[in-house]
Amino acid sequence: MVGPTASLTPLSRADGSASYQCPSTGSNILGSVNAPIELPGRRDALRPEDATVEVFVKPGTAPGGVGERYVEGIIKNMLTKLILGREKGYARRGVVITLAIVGGESVGRGDSYLTLLPALLHTALLALLSASVPLSMTFSATVLAVDASGKITREPSPKEAATATSLHVFAFSSNGHLLLSESQGPFEFKTWENVHQRALAICHGTLARSSDGDVAMAEDVDGQPLEGALREVVEDKIHLDYAWKIDAP
């Protein structure tokens, strides 16, 4: 299983940005975050103590439509809970997240966005980290497809997703709590349980409980857990930026 590749701060003019490629779904997303910025008008009046989060998803080839508005809503609802909008300098200001789909198979008009959702969420997270927006925790997300025989495919390609009976997207916080569960197509409770277990293993590694009740994260058939892969990207970038401080005697 080839893990995703990502880079932090590829854009110099945005406050924070990230690019993210997922080889198995073929998605390639470029995201930017501008925060904290002054909002035009009186959009802040509803919640004066909190920051306003706005998410824009831009498809690569076509103008945005209903599908983009829907996925923007999902991402916004999830990120609003993670962003600490009451921190100093953020109240009554805006956090604007723009996600552009720059590669991979584009989603047709009215088609499901679920295959792209994890890549969009990861890009948004990395861009928020790059902009140093205060967050309460990080997360990792994955998409799984279940076909008619009950076989679970991790991060399906667009062709596999088209033939699947159901698609499931899960996001887990860095503490292992379920943050987001979006499903599409007919499935049973048992299937959902199986998919949930598999998604948790992909994001956090297999849980190996030792005798004293400690939970250790280990690698398994899914390769490196996604949580660790994202962490490595961020750590590498900070290591590079602060080489002068870390390498100093």
């Binding site: 701060t9 002054e38 140093s132 205060p134 860095s174 750590e235 870390i246 005697p249």
Partner: protein, 276 residues
Amino acid sequence: MVSPLILLPGDEIPSEYLPSTNSAPLRLGAGLRLLSQPSSNPSTPPSHVISATQSALLSTDTKRNAVSLLSTPNRRYIPTPGDLVIAQIHHSSPDYFHCMVTPQAPQAMLGQLSFEGATKKTRPMLKQGDLVYARVLSIGLGAGAEVELTCVNPATGRAEPGGLGPLTGGMVFDVSTGLAARLIKASSSSAEQQDGVAGLVVLDELGKKLEKAGGFEIAVGRNGKVWVDCANGGDSAIKATVAIGRCLSTIDEHELSPTDQRKLVTRILREMKIES
């Protein structure tokens, strides 16, 4: 010396990374917050953990008993009271000069009389486009608040630290806010170190090499501006100014070790044909 610790939002700081406890209370820098964990046993007091809210490198200061986070360095400049900035006059009104600190932010206000020794009769007549080295006095509250700058310490009426006020001559170079913060750190600490402070030896090296060419003056603003002037340079003044700017912008783009910084200075001065 413990190995460097890189934190992501939600990570807790292990207790061995905190400065060893002494009488002074621990100071938390930006990006860190104190969370209390209610204990299962109601008789014991709740325990506290310090967790990060940004992805950053942890930096501890044992002398001041402080911990802070060093976050992604190339951020847009956001004014904070006490910062030294280089601002450009946009226009003037009866009471204030309206200045640009960063192009994307609203203009900041600088009082006509907030200069050292300024009275209604003797105040600097600054024109549009002039530069001032100023300190951020206040940033106001809430959205759309005005940022106020000053060139004097309001308590003493002196330009403290020295050099605050109009900058005449010279040239301004743009650098990243991260490099500006490093330059300020490097110039504020006087300790003589072989590898320079904050990994920067470029200014010391330039100072040594350009001594014959008349030396130079430099002012660094937190808003990512560096003002350079070689007033005593004579014929090579312009060349030396440009050379300093090229050294700084190259170091900004590429992460250079102290040895490479020395090599870069030698190479650029040779290319610009400046005697050193």
